[in-house]
């Protein structure tokens, strides 16, 4: 009886109970007529005039003599989609259902290892003064690599700043990461943006901008541009649970929905926004519950389950491209590191919490255990991989440190498409100044 009620409520709300089939059908079919019929069938007895047939449910409503205050806390919490448990065992279906061959899974695991190695070493490097700033990705490798692997090269990606795995998977290699973090002359951004704020036009990955959530309306705009070109590309837009509180989140969701933009809004719900836990960030049921308000489809996924994230992104992408509609994915995960090197998370969270997540729900460990169960991986290969990655990162870091910084005159380039006169004047003034007083500055680090 209770289960029937649960299903009824879930169906009425348009969100399926999480079986594989209903999940896919919910996403892939733009079939609100079916939902409408189901809603009609489950209508309470005291509803008066019949509803109009309309494919936009938000504009039609029945009248009722029953005063009922809609209480969202009565709705069941939306469950998260999971394919593999924390010990690497598949929960349903077979390995074939993953639609990933062993080689791909190993490659994805390698990328997760690269993220971990870069994270660890760059963090240490910052503490030793070799790098000025770093933002860790620990704990979110699965959702980064899993989602990136489901996208196509022609898709455009907007990121927040905790998507290193996405960049690495797309082809932004470790050396480029090191160059960017050291702001040297080989950096594509010419040393003008903070470390970990990558951007690569060739990979369709837009330069990261520090203010939160600004990338969301831009993603909607990019999707609009792609839609006009009639391509089979979509836009992927990453952001965090804290960023979803900004006004731009509302704007972007609303715009994408009203203007039918093919964009996947991917929320990395990692539990913390610097020191603000999610219990203080919002009152509703996570970020996913908001999609309903915008008439947008969405789903929740276990962000530490790489296969679930991969499958969810694949389905979402299909839907976004075929129907030209936005979709929201909320990936539940945990931020194992500090917010950045300017933060000390031990001041606001318990080490027990960190330990729990490290031992009980580690994304990399889950994939490794799965691979070991399939006899594709063992501890020797693990040690070998770690050593290889560590060596590679250190080598890249060393190369980047030896590379000179950009020429000082680059300070004035790229402000405009063409350098205007007053900037040229300022550039000349600076060059004159350096000719006279150059010895007071450490110019040897810069390209001349």
């Amino acid at each position: 009886m209770l289960f029937h009620r649960l299903v009824q409520t879930a169906v009425r709300r348009g969100i399926g109970v999480p079986t594989y089939r209903t999940f896919c059908s919910q996403l892939s079919q733009f079939d609100s007529a079916q939902q409408l019929q189901k809603a009609k069938a489950s209508k309470p007895k005291d509803v008066l005039s019949p509803r109009q047939e309309n494919d936009r449910p938000s504009t039609t409503y029945d009248f009722t003599t029953h005063l009922e205050i809609v209480d969202p806390t009565k709705d069941p919490v939306i469950p998260a989609y999971r394919v593999m448990d924390t010990n690497g065992t598949l929960l349903r279906g077979s390995e074939r259902d993953l639609l990933l061959d062993e080689k791909s899974i190993v490659k994805m695991y390698h990328t997760m290892g690269e993220v971990a190695a870069l994270d660890h070493i760059l963090m240490q490097a910052q503490r030793h003064g070799r790098v000025s700033f770093h933002m860790q990705n620990a704990g979110e490798e699965a959702l980064q690599v899993g989602s990136a692997a489901a996208l196509e090269p022609q898709d455009h990606i907007f990121s927040q700043y905790r998507e290193l795995g996405v960049f690495l998977w797309r082809g932004f290699d470790m050396q480029q990461v090191a160059h960017q973090c050291l702001s040297n002359a080989e950096d594509l951004g010419k040393g003008k943006q903070m470390p970990m704020h990558f951007g690569c036009g060739k990979l369709n990955m837009y330069t990261i901008s520090s203010p939160l959530t600004t990338q969301l309306p831009q993603a909607a705009g990019c999707a609009y541009a792609l839609k006009r070109r009639n391509t089979d590309a979509c836009v992927m837009c990453y952001f965090g649970d804290g960023a979803a509180s900004e006004g731009d989140f509302h704007a972007a969701m609303n715009f994408a929905s009203t203007l039918d933009c093919p964009v996947i809004f991917f929320c990395r719900n990692n539990g913390w926004a610097i020191s603000t836990p999610v219990s203080e960030q919002y009152r509703g049921d996570g970020i996913l519950s908001r999609a309903k308000g915008y008439g947008m489809k969405g789903l929740r996924v276990d962000g530490n389950d790489m296969f679930a994230v991969h499958e969810a992104t694949r389905e979402a992408r299909k839907y976004a491209v075929n129907q030209s509609r936005p979709v929201l994915i909320e990936a539940m995960s945990y931020r194992r590191g500090h917010h950045s090197t300017s933060d000390d998370s031990t001041t606001y969270r318990l080490s027990e919490e960190l330990d729990w997540w490290a031992h009980n729900d580690c994304p990399a460990k889950r994939v490794r255990l799965h691979l070991e169960k399939r006899d594709v991986w063992d501890s020797e290969m693990e040690a070998e991989m770690r050593t290889m990655h560590k060596k590679k990162v250190l080598k890249c870091l060393g190369t980047a440190e030896k590379t000179l910084k950009p020429n000082i005159s680059e300070l004035f380039t790229d402000v405009y498409a063409e350098m205007p006169e007053r900037l040229k004047r300022q550039q000349n003034d600076l060059e004159e100044h350096l000719k006279k007083y150059g010895t007071e500055y450490n110019l040897s680090k810069y390209q001349s």
Binding site: A220, Y224, A417, E418, E421
Partner: protein, 435 residues
């Protein structure tokens, strides 16, 4: 005109007396505009600019190192040769000797149009010319825009290129930036410039910065346009001068238009530019009627416009204050003064070349602006003039600006907030001395 000035959301009942007052004010503005345009033609005729170089003047400007490659290309295309720096509306100056000139012929688009029509034509022509141009904003589609600038364009280009958006300035400005980085050339229409304060984050942090922080990988060729300035009793929130706040943002260019002709030519140039441009129109100038240029006439975004040549004093102004100044000039002329009036057009960067040329002649300058005294365009311009041209000046630069108060609603209070022609006359008399 008055009805279209009001934001659509307000429903204000106007007593007939006020309507008559406003109609009288409008008539005065039109008369000024008419007088000015006549005067301009006379000046041009007396300067004896030949047809080819006048077209060249309109179409593109000097290939000096400081001017953009775009301008350079336009000049070369127009004349088939490189030209020395030339000043819009007058013959070339500086090192190159003036060419022999013949009287001007009639421009292509000889029938006078309202400024809103001129802007509409600019958008229409550019959207036809380049399929990546589109316009987005509130009520730009079927409604035709709050100031009629996009009237019926949706019928020609469709609802996707003339995009109606929900009410969220930061949202659609961000969207335009994303679309621009992906290869489109969006025009963002703010219903009123003051609403763009809500878009400040996107304009400052992203529009102005993304080309820089990406190391040149991504460009943001947006045009953000809308009506600003003090209107006729629009209230404090709808009478803002955002050029004050935007001028410090690195990476954006600011342009202020004042006539139908320069509005059309500048908007075309702005759409073609690869930089983000904030394009300031004025609420009270939309019904100004004048001739406009043809589809190929673009005006440099970095050059000022000579309104009236003179030798006694340089008056620097822009936007609606141009008309306030020209009204004062009538009286000044009668009193025997000969002021030189320059319309800044480019608020960022300033056309210091033109300003220098003028101050070399007059040795005195005043700035007449609608921004407030504190932190306005005049404040920056005044400091630049003092720093660079100190030795050329016989008198400190006098700055006439609006009061540092929110603009009151009452008509008389509103009038007292902004600069009036009498103040201009007074300032000129003070700086130049008795005649």
């Amino acid at each position: 005109m008055e009805v279209s000035l009001l934001p659509r959301r307000q429903a204000i009942y106007r007593p007939w007396r006020k309507a008559a007052l406003i109609a009288a004010a409008l008539a005065t503005v039109c008369v000024i505009a008419g007088a000015f345009s006549l005067g301009a033609r006379t000046d041009l005729a007396s300067a004896r600019v030949s047809t080819p170089s006048r077209l060249a003047v309109r179409q593109g400007f000097a290939p000096l190192a400081q001017h953009s490659a775009f301008s350079r290309n336009m000049v070369e295309k127009a004349t088939g040769k490189c030209q020395a720096p030339i000043f819009p509306g007058r013959m070339s100056v500086s090192a190159v000797a003036p060419e022999l000139l013949s009287p001007p012929t009639k421009p292509d688009f000889s029938e006078p149009r309202f400024m809103w029509q001129a802007l509409r034509e600019a958008i229409d022509e550019e959207m036809e010319r380049d399929p990546s141009v589109m316009i987005m904003g509130e009520d730009v589609g079927h409604y035709g825009g709050s100031y009629k600038v996009t009237t019926d364009l949706y019928k020609k280009f469709g609802d996707l290129r003339i995009l109606d958006t929900p009410i969220c300035e930061n949202g659609f400005t961000g969207m335009a930036i994303g679309a621009a980085m992906t290869g489109l050339r969006p025009i963002v229409e703010g219903m009123n410039m003051g609403f763009l304060l809500l878009a400040f984050n996107q304009i400052s942090n992203n529009c102005g910065m993304l080309h820089y922080t990406s190391g040149g990988q991504y460009k943001v060729p947006v045009v953000i346009r809308g009506p600003g300035g003090v209107g006729r009793q629009l209230g404090a929130e709808h009478s803002q001068r955002l050029e004050s706040y935007f001028q410090a943002i690195p990476g954006v260019q600011l342009v202020a238009v004042s006539t139908p002709r320069n509005a059309k030519a500048l908007l075309k140039a702005a759409i073609r530019s690869d930089n983000p441009i904030v394009f300031f129109e004025h609420v009270l100038l939309y019904n100004l009627k004048d001739e406009v240029g043809g589809p190929d006439e673009v005006q440099s975004l970095e050059h000022a416009e000579m309104v009236r040549e003179g030798k006694d004093i340089t008056i620097l102004t822009y936007g609606r204050m141009r008309y306030t100044v020209m009204e004062a000039v009538k009286t000044l002329q009668a009193k025997g003064y000969d002021p030189e009036v320059i319309d800044l057009i480019s608020l960022k960067p300033f056309d210091l070349h033109a300003i220098k040329k003028s101050i070399e002649k007059t040795h005195k300058a005043i700035i007449v602006e609608e921004c407030m005294l504190t932190g306005g365009i005049g404040a920056s311009l005044s400091s630049e003039i003092h720093e660079r041209f100190f030795d050329l000046l016989d008198h400190q630069v006098v700055r006439l600006s609006s009061q540092d108060v929110p603009t009151a609603f009452a008509l008389e209070l509103e009038a007292a907030t902004i600069v009036q022609p009498e103040q201009v006359i007074q300032a000129v008399e003070k700086v130049v001395g008795a005649k």
